[in-house]
Symmetry: C2
Subunit: 430 residues, 2 copies
Amino acid sequence: MTMVDGQGPIPDARVLISGNRIQEVSTGNISPLPETDTVIYANDAIVLPGLVNAHVHSPMTIFRGMSDDLPLKTWLFDHIFPAEAKYMNPDSVFWGSLLGCLEMIASGTTTFVDGYFFAEDIIKATDKAGMRALVAQGVIDFPAPGVPEPEKNLDVASSFLERWINFSDLIMPGIFCHSPVTCSANTLRKAYEISDRFSLPLQIHLSETKEEVAEIEKMTGLRPVFFLDSLGLLNSKLIAVHVIYLNEDEIECLAKKDVKIAHCPESSMKLGSGIAEVARMLEKGLVVGIGTDGCASNNNLDLFGEMDATAKLAKVAGRDPTLLNAAKVLNMATVAGAKVIGLDNEIGTIEAWKKADIIIVDTNTPHMTPMYNPYSQLVYSATGGDVRDVIIDGKIVYRDRQFTIVDSDEVMEKVNSIGWRIFKERGNYI
Amino acid sequence: MTMVDGQGPIPDARVLISGNRIQEVSTGNISPLPETDTVIYANDAIVLPGLVNAHVHSPMTIFRGMSDDLPLKTWLFDHIFPAEAKYMNPDSVFWGSLLGCLEMIASGTTTFVDGYFFAEDIIKATDKAGMRALVAQGVIDFPAPGVPEPEKNLDVASSFLERWINFSDLIMPGIFCHSPVTCSANTLRKAYEISDRFSLPLQIHLSETKEEVAEIEKMTGLRPVFFLDSLGLLNSKLIAVHVIYLNEDEIECLAKKDVKIAHCPESSMKLGSGIAEVARMLEKGLVVGIGTDGCASNNNLDLFGEMDATAKLAKVAGRDPTLLNAAKVLNMATVAGAKVIGLDNEIGTIEAWKKADIIIVDTNTPHMTPMYNPYSQLVYSATGGDVRDVIIDGKIVYRDRQFTIVDSDEVMEKVNSIGWRIFKERGNYI
């Protein structure tokens, strides 16, 4: 499955990798293997481009399952915000994010778009895991983890970009504005100016709840999309996350400005926020990637589950089983994801001279048998647990379901001990 | 996790099994192990009752991914029905069902409720796999696989019950009426009389689509539930499947008559049929189990994914994150499932003298770390792939992710060859 536009699945294919790039994709009467260091056989398996998680807060693995099934405001103000203030620090962010990286790798994600605080510790974790990412420093006009003085939030973000922009070929720094409700017009405008100066993408949560839309309309007299447009924020480097409550004019405006969309169906379902009109967005030509959101509201980082939810939720919402077919959804998690992060010239498909970000999915199991249509199988039958091997930037980071460059036992132990401390301090879980 | 009402998770627990029954569940200062044949350690794992799949057509694994994302009528009349007529026979039903059994075992299901044609071959497969099940012969007033003359459908079903009722302690035969649209009033009444004579549950698809409800109202002047009530079908041994389009009076009527419900969220999502009001049903006291439906409309038999979908779909449909919390959903897939099949005195919880149907879920992975709340972890973070060991009726059928009593390679090979033949005859998959 190269995911190259117009190209179907290639049976008996061979992918040659040289350094960090794909050298050749061939099939048919395959010539003898050239001399090579490593051969991975993918019989009874599907080879496809690494998935792109278009929206995640990776350190929030720390809070996985800590407080679920609560009213939205109770969850946020009585659980998540206080826990973030108390327990998020460079150490927990590093280990939480590294655990998130391992979880993403083991479920076939090779690139992710992150937004959180202590972002430099996320970069360190991402680098250690060997992953590709856009890692953004959070900006919010309230005291936040690592940024106790909100008036300094943009200085922190700006220094973060300067410090990390040349750190690694695989990792881009960025800015993540929490939302147009929690960031002032002035903060949004400045965040955009800083991002623009570095030619980097800017992320923002947008129109996730009805209440948020009403609040912005009350404050500005404008629907959220047009409010951002009035600030000059809408362009091809803006990544708008969730975007559930849009009217027709807003969809058209986003499409015209080529704003990128990150769709997080499982999180929006679990929080009861609503259902984004993805089929409508695609129809209008918008680029829509798929994100898991953070582990506090999902509670996993498995893009296979998220693809399944993306397809099925669209169908039931529209009462139309033809909406978002499996091939389209797989495209969203690969090709569109690459576009969201602005790397579609480098990743998202398997073709010569692209970066070697490749995953191999085991199909030799009852739930992947028989095989009529690999798109259907990947979207509707597979889970992240079916991923057998992962290559990022030409490097094998996961082989036969074992991590090759990180000691996963150490990472789980660290996160368990952080979680255990939180658990003891917060009391019973039921 | 015993799932015993009012009992929370028990840390450091020990479950002793003798023969096919649980002998003792203990915790605390654990005394030395009694002399025993086999010890399975479950460190870094959760022990819980085997899951109950409340609705499946197991042989349909044969058609997994064969035809997806199509308009409902095209899918049914141009793909599924013709393929069933052409390719379903005792051989394909046996191997398809056996593959389904392996898939269910590997994802933690120990008991299932099946309804299809050639049901005796499903019984043979179930028996070979060592699973517990209610296996029902399909009844429909049209020519069907193995029942070319519809006027004989009830004779076939009746002989099936007689032949298999005493075959095995683990397997109950039953009747499955396709729907009140495809079975006449007379067929429904007689099917009920036959089931009742054997004191066996009767299954029926009910109110799955708006069109079906309209058709029954037009035909009978009654809403579907009241139509069944007028035929005398509503009682505690009726399993109503899907039940998406119900009004308030129908919910109350079903609750009053203690009709059992099988909720299949992923299938209803993928087919775009609609969203059953599960939270409302539970509020009214209905017993609601969770089913995967067949692989042609899901496309897997993983109840972990189905639990996740059950919780999240209810929340987003009701715009309320407190609906169907994780513990309730796990209850649906265990305790309520056992009630649906009428075996709640025997299975569904882990307690002394119940049948030993037990699964062990691995938690020593990034996506199951850290652990605050095992209910949340099982429903929102786990997939079927996390199941490590499965015991049914005291017998280990799956150990360290390996099947112990069935040669899974042989089964996959058989189903692949059936699938390959269908694939070649039907043409390209895209």
